[in-house]
């Protein structure tokens, strides 16, 4: 197909902290050196921030490195962590608070800030535009564009105006080629182009498989009397049984709002597990429920996050481009924090890009690997490398004890590295061999029906377009996943996209409600048959998060 094309010096895919930090830093450095470097950022969300979902506690240093004057520039970073609690939930009533000395260092949050990452990204986007970056929101980078020598030449944006069968509707607009000397991929956790790049350039050679969690999050407005800005709570234990990893967080923001969420490791084995229901049940705990009572739920969403850490790090450079932030899995799994590393990786990329421009036409970005190994991102991930595998291996209590020892006394200097060689999709057990889980009915006050929740993600997709959740083999869900695992997609998807329904004659079929999708990427990760490919839907489709 003939496509229009536009050219930039640097094209960046994804307006998250990694992509925006790269764009900003490139402009800053180019400015210092009197160079004119054109930079564009493609963002699949309808606006910057629309698809951003995080906790979030922010380690401020990285932002400070980008904008030393962030305060004067009115960055939406106002609330510092004031009080913090780490609790083990023993059943639905009891919470055991860890005394401060017993809290592993990476889980201490003093000096950090409670932020809405979506709002922070909106602000970063404004700063970037102020520096001359072209941000195109509502445009997904759909596929890769190759140079003759096999390197990356840019990306192609998605076609607009195809119908369900893929035929052109009136008003059809072919996607365009965005060509660039360097293309930086910052799609966040499990980017769909990142997945293709990893395969094409064998970026994972020698690395463990990536591990993941799914985070389900809500924002509530609560009673002023119960609201304590800067208050931070982390929990582990209940409602998960000892065999599944995960825990909850609850952060008090400003404006009487709290952000709360529950993260479930996607290495769970019981196919009956339903992360959404775990989150709903977790809110009923005596430690959480009283806080929410009388409040209003404002927002809902979900997003996968990386947990592989150091052992799963891929090579991040390839001819013509780099993989940044969570697209490369830079989240620190011991802290479950990745924003600072996303920002740092963006800045490192910017330095590399400018050096390569200085080195002249055709210079590659290989230098990045070296810079990365010398960076605080690498040392931080290395130091934390044994925490997540230990928690997997030995469970929250014993593993937690190791966590404390390893991080508080030994600072990660143990002479060995624990590994988790099995990918998350490969660990599901047969449904028949696992106990079904009995989740309580939603009460409509604290816990809610799934579709009422999805409504609060403001997700929207044009109805008449090709399904963006593609099955490699259409028979797998019913022929394999159903008999073996009772099709777990029905439960792990936090937006009720997958439903197995029976018709009047009892014939089962899989229904894919693609319009509900909140772009969390869990299905692409957890499907036991690795049969689902998440593709970007028509530009602008997906959730419209406000302050997630």
């Amino acid at each position: 197909m003939e496509r229009e094309s536009v050219a930039f010096d640097v094209a960046i895919v994804g307006a998250g902290p990694a992509g925006l930090a790269a764009a900003i830093k490139i402009k800053q450095l180019a400015g210092e050196r009197g160079l004119d470097v054109s930079v564009c950022v493609l963002e699949k969300g309808s606006e910057v921030g629309a698809h951003i979902l995080s906790g979030a506690l922010l380690e401020i240093k990285a932002l400070e490195a980008l904008f030393p004057a962030w305060r004067d520039l009115q960055a939406p970073v106002g609330v510092t962590v004031a009080e913090e609690e780490l609790c083990y939930l023993a059943g639905s009533q009891h919470a055991v608070k860890f005394p401060d000395f017993a809290v592993p260092k990476p889980l201490r949050n003093h000096g950090h800030y409670v932020v809405s990452l979506a709002n922070l990204c909106r602000w970063l986007g404004k700063q970037a535009e102020g520096l001359g970056v072209d941000i195109f929101a509502g445009f997904a980078a759909d596929s890769l564009l190759y140079r003759e020598d096999g390197g990356i030449a840019g990306v192609v944006t998605g076609d607009m105006g195809l119908d369900k069968q893929g035929r052109q509707k009136p008003g059809f607009q072919a996607g365009i080629e965005v060509r660039a000397k360097y293309t930086l991929f910052a799609e966040g956790c499990h980017g769909h182009l990142g997945k293709q790049l990893t395969e094409r350039y064998c970026l994972r050679e020698g690395a463990d498989p990536q591990h993941y969690g799914i985070g389900i999050k809500e924002v509530w407005k609560i009673d002023a009397a119960k609201h304590r800005p800067g208050n931070v709570l982390h929990t582990f234990g209940w409602p998960l049984d000892g065999s599944s990893e995960g825990g909850g967080f609850l952060y008090h923001l400003d404006g009487q709002q709290v952000a709360l969420g529950f993260i479930v490791g996607l290495n769970y084995a019981n196919p009956h597990l339903n992360p959404y229901q775990e989150m709903q049940r977790w809110k009923l705990h005596a430690k959480i429920k009283p806080l929410l009572e009388g409040g209003t739920r404002l927002a809902y969403g979900a997003r996968a996050l990386n947990k592989g850490g150091w052992q799963s790090l891929p090579r991040m450079s390839f001819p013509g481009g780099l993989l940044l932030g969570c697209d490369a899995g830079l989240l620190n799994p011991a802290k479950l924090r990745g924003i600072h590393n996303a920002l740092r990786s963006g800045m490192l990329a910017a330095e590399t890009v400018l050096e390569s421009f200085a080195a002249g036409d055709g210079a590659e970005l290989d230098n990045f690997e070296q810079k990365f190994r010398a960076s605080p991102i690498y040392s931080e991930l290395y130091q934390a490398r044994n925490v997540a595998p230990a928690l997997s291996k030995w469970g929250p209590l014993l593993g937690g004890a190791f966590f404390w020892l390893d991080q508080n006394l030994l600072a990660g200097r143990l002479p060995f590295t624990l590994r988790k060689p099995r990918a998350d999709h490969a660990v599901l057990k047969a449904a028949a061999a696992c106990p079904p889980i009995d989740y309580p009915c939603p009460d409509g006050k604290i816990s809610f029906d799934l579709m009422a929740s999805v409504a609060l993600s403001n997700t929207h997709h044009e109805a008449d377009q090709p399904c963006h959740l593609q099955l490699r083999d259409a028979d797998v869900p019913l022929a394999v996943n159903w008999p073996q695992y009772a099709e777990p997609a029905q439960r792990y998807c936090p937006a009720k996209v997958y439903e197995v329904v029976a018709d009047a004659n009892g014939n089962r079929g899989l229904v894919i409600n693609a319009q509900n999708c909140v772009h969390c990427k869990t299905c692409d990760i957890k499907d036991p048959a690795q049969n689902i490919d998440w593709r970007p839907p028509e530009g602008g489709g997906g959730p419209n998060y406000t302050n997630m």
Binding site: M451, A452, A455, H460, A463, V501, A504, V511, N513, Q515
Partner: protein
């Protein structure tokens, strides 16, 4: 004391039901007089208006048929009449919505649109943001100009006996607008958007043949047929039948949901329905939370029984 003028809506012969409903709203405003203005070529609608309880006078302004529906022609007439009134009201139909703001601009009045409740002399309630918020607004000093969401009020009954006065205003009407034609939509079935009864089917209806049953019942009831998204997605019915947040928002007097679970997005399209009935086999289906009448039963048994019951009526 308030003097209210309500502009009637009619089709040339018959008064539109929206007029009697808007009258109910108007009557709730404390007043000294309440008059109805009828513009048209036939006195018949004016005569019917005069029978509505609570009306003091009916002002009949004769106009050729092809001008009687044109806002640009009616506007100067209404402005002229309004001099005697503190309040000018119309039903918020396509006719009223077209006309009234033009009048308001001429009177330098801030109009209140689509009122659903009266809260005093010049204070009203209305929905904003597609029904997601309800506001109480107060009209500023000067003539109160408001349109009424007719479906929010019950019709005033007949039984009154006001006089019909013919008023000759003798104004030069603009000639810049000509009516070329009105194509009344003719469909054997009532239009989903405006039908007073709607039967809706969801995924539980199971297929095209289930919808055939629903259509048969609908024809007996003079009802329109609608559907949930799942039913449309499954290809049971075309997409113009879809009801909900992202499709048609309806407010029939009677709405019966067959095999619809009652997802939030679907309910957003029916929240103003008069009576909501749900037929569903799942006693925990969320639809029962909003239904005025719920029946936990298999729709395939209910539909034929209902047909029978109606036949026996």
């Amino acid at each position: 004391m308030n003097r209210i003028l309500l502009i009637a809506e009619h089709n040339g012969q018959n008064l539109d039901p929206a007029t009697a409903k808007s009258l109910t709203c108007a009557l709730q405003i404390p007043h000294q007089t309440l008059d109805i203005a009828v513009f048209g070529s036939s006195r018949a609608p004016a005569e019917s208006a005069a029978k509505l309880v609570g009306v003091n006078r009916v002002l009949f302004v004769e106009l050729p048929e092809n001008q009687a529906g044109l806002a640009v022609c009616l506007c100067p007439l209404v402005v002229e009449l309004s001099a005697d009134y503190t309040h000018v009201l119309v039903p918020a139909t396509s006719f009223g919505r077209d006309l009234l703001p033009r009048v308001a601009a001429k009177l330098n009045a801030a109009q209140v649109s689509d009122i659903v409740a009266v809260d005093g002399d010049r204070c009203f309630k209305r929905y904003v943001y597609a029904g997601n918020a309800l506001i109480t607004v107060q009209a500023p000093a000067g003539t109160v100009v408001a349109s009424v969401r007719a479906n929010a009020f019950k019709p005033t009954s007949a039984g009154g006996q006001a006089v019909v006065e013919t008023v000759d205003l003798n104004l030069e009407l603009p000639r810049h607008t000509r009516l070329l034609g009105l194509n009344r939509s003719v469909s054997e079935r009532p239009d989903l958007q405006s039908a007073s009864r709607v039967l809706a089917g969801g995924r539980g209806v199971g297929g095209k043949s289930g919808f055939d049953d629903l259509y048969r019942l609908a024809d007996k009831l003079g009802a329109a047929v609608g559907a949930s998204r799942a039913a449309v997605d499954a290809g049971f019915v075309p997409n113009d039948l879809q009801i909900g947040q992202t499709s048609k928002i309806i407010a029939p007097d009677l709405y019966i949901a067959f095999g619809i679970s009652g997802a939030f997005q679907h309910l957003a399209g029916i929240k103003d329905a008069g009576v909501i009935v749900a037929v569903n086999t799942d006693p925990n289906a969320p639809i029962f939370e909003v239904a005025d009448i719920g029946l936990v039963a298999d729709l395939f048994e209910v539909i034929p029984q209902l047909e029978q019951a109606l036949a026996n009526k």
